[in-house]
Amino acid sequence: MWVQLEVFLQTLISGVLLGGLYALIGLGMTLILGVMKIINLTHGQLMMVAMYVAYWLFTLFHIDPYVSLLIAPPLLFLLGMFLQKTLINPVLRVESILPHNQVILTVGIGMVLQNLATIFFTSDYKSTPVDYATDAWYLSDYWKDAPFELSLSYPWTVSFLLAVGITTALWFFLAKTDTGKSIRATAQDRDAAALMGVNVGLMRVITFGLGSALVAAAGCLFIPIYYLFPSLGSQFTLIAFVITILGGLGSTMGAILGGLILGVFESMTATYVGMGWAPVGRFAIFVAALVFLPGGVASLLKRKAVTK
């Protein structure tokens, strides 16, 4: 019985740790979706680019991946602003039959990024062998007669805590600063925001940059604990939109909860069903969300707020 509890708790812990990182990925996606009303299907590829930045900083200059948290996100912020300004903004103005042109455009950008990464960095698996990769805290070190053993990996925990820190900083930025308020206003009602003197075009550019920077941060936090290869991007794009649907489109709180739910659910599927089925679990929860809760977790939160 203790063994089962141990397995369950351990799975829960790794699920929550994974979920914290997922939340960061989902946050960037949901911000972009909220402000620009487009799905950014190149989100994972941007993360892949950031991971390569962190990887090369580590290999060439021995910069710790956590330190490149100060370098990669700003770079991706610029890349995101560049993509938005030169490619996506022009398309928003173009008259066309299909309303989803921007989405297809982001797919094109993603294809280019992924293919360029394959050409320049080959499709080999890469990783940053940090020397603390396998260190962990053990429950028995703190509680001698613990009936079961739990471990907490250093890099996972540090990544999780940093993710929480970044999320808090983002919340502060969105809630308290003028730029943050302008971004939220643009997300709520573009026309009204423009009438109130918000520079909507600038907010879009900043938001895309911010979303890219967030997913870049997630990339830097992922690389000490994960492998890196060019096609990793599409996998994380899928994860990002599952989180976004699960949380509710455009809701930041929803993205955080969605990330945590997905992280825990995936860990559980991997432990109790089998590793190969973890992606199926991911999509099962996605379909379930579409059928039973199309508004995502955010609609539940809202419902509660209304009845109060």
Binding site: L33, I38, I39, L41, L87, P90, V91, V94, E95, S96, I97, L98, P99, H100, N101, V103, I104, L105, V107, G108, I109, G110, M111, V112, Q114, N115, L116, T118, I119, S234, L238, F241, V242, I245, L249, G276, W277, P279, V280, F283, F286, V287, L290, V291, P294
Partner: protein, 312 residues
């Protein structure tokens, strides 16, 4: 004249193999026609009804697996894949349509994307049925390419006719009304979910045919190939985007360009590995400058060339 254009093209295509073309040219022609079929099918849903699908590989692969498994497990001719694929593909499309097409916004895009991936992962993991990543190999019917050419030409002619018939019928106007303004369509009494589901189902079944043909023609499939996001789903979209959204000839033009481009780029030294980059750049350029494709924006194109001529 314009009315007979499809018949003229069909007749010209029908006599083409009599010229004694090389096997490689025939291969390219078959690929062009196959992609035209997929493109026309996608166009019905994406172009006319305005529901962009990123997961047509799901239906393509399902059709291919129906043909492959019929031959592999049931000892039937793999050509039975065509009739067999209809119930499976239609059922998948119906279930998916009824779940997702009730919802507005980006849900459909995301759900189709997910469907393709679900199919791929399922086919990889159900090793008893599909042999997983080993794939399925069947005996091809003909060594010569001419037989395959006429089969796919027939499918293409049928598809063209069905799309034209639908687009010019009452349903076709419903489809376009849904694309242009869903609220207005709904308030005029159009059951939008129903008609979107119809468009999806027809589109899916035709794509399934394309997949069943692929199995027959290639003789080998595996989940990574037929459920591929980049090489099937996205390529289908590109065929339509490049050629022309919501036009009869757009997918055909797009298929010619994409197949030839892919062949040319892949045969070039050094550049070959970068073909996805070039495809991506082409897609970006098309969306920014010719958002309705070559056929859809031919007036813009004509004006562009005239201006250039005048300047010289």
């Amino acid at each position: 004249m314009k009315r007979f254009a499809p018949l003229i093209v069909l007749a010209a295509m029908a006599v083409l193999p009599l010229l004694g073309l090389s096997s490689y040219v025939m291969h390219l022609l078959i690929l062009v026609i196959m992609w035209s079929v997929s493109g026309m099918a996608w166009n019905l849903l994406g172009g006319y009804t305005g529901q962009v699908s990123f997961g047509h590989a799901a239906f393509f692969g399902l059709g291919a697996y129906c043909a492959g498994l019929a031959s592999f497990h049931l000892n039937l001719s793999s050509w039975y894949g065509f009739p067999l694929s209809i119930p499976f593909v239609a059922a998948t499309a119906l279930v998916m349509g009824l779940i997702v097409l009730r919802l507005r916004g980006p849900y459909f895009v995301l759900a189709t994307l997910a469907l393709g991936e679900i199919m791929r992962i399922t086919a990889e993991n159900l090793t008893d049925l599909t042999q997983g990543n080993l794939g399925i190999m069947i005996q091809r019917t003909w060594v010569e390419k001419t037989g395959y050419y006429y089969v796919i030409l027939g499918v293409a002619a049928l598809t063209f006719w069905v799309v034209k018939l639908l687009a010019e019928s009452r349903w076709g106007y419903y489809f376009v009304a849904i694309r242009e303004d869903q609220d207005a369509a709904e308030s005029l009494g159009i059951n939008t979910t129903l008609y979107k589901t119809i468009a999806l189902t027809v589109s899916a079944v035709i794509t399934g045919f394309s997949g069943a043909f692929y199995m027959n023609y290639m003789g080998y499939i595996d989940p990574q190939v037929v459920f591929s996001l980049g090489d099937i789903s996205i390529l289908t979209i590109m065929v339509v985007m490049v050629g022309g959204v919501a036009t009869y000839w757009g997918p055909v033009v797009g298929a010619v360009i994409m197949v030839l481009l892919a062949e040319v780029i892949r045969s070039l030294p050094y550049v070959g590995t970068a073909y996805q980059t070039l495809f991506g750049v082409l897609l970006i350029v098309i969306i920014i400058y010719l958002p309705n494709g070559l056929v859809g924006d031919r007036q813009t194109l004509a004006r562009l060339f005239k201006k250039k001529g005048a300047a010289v």
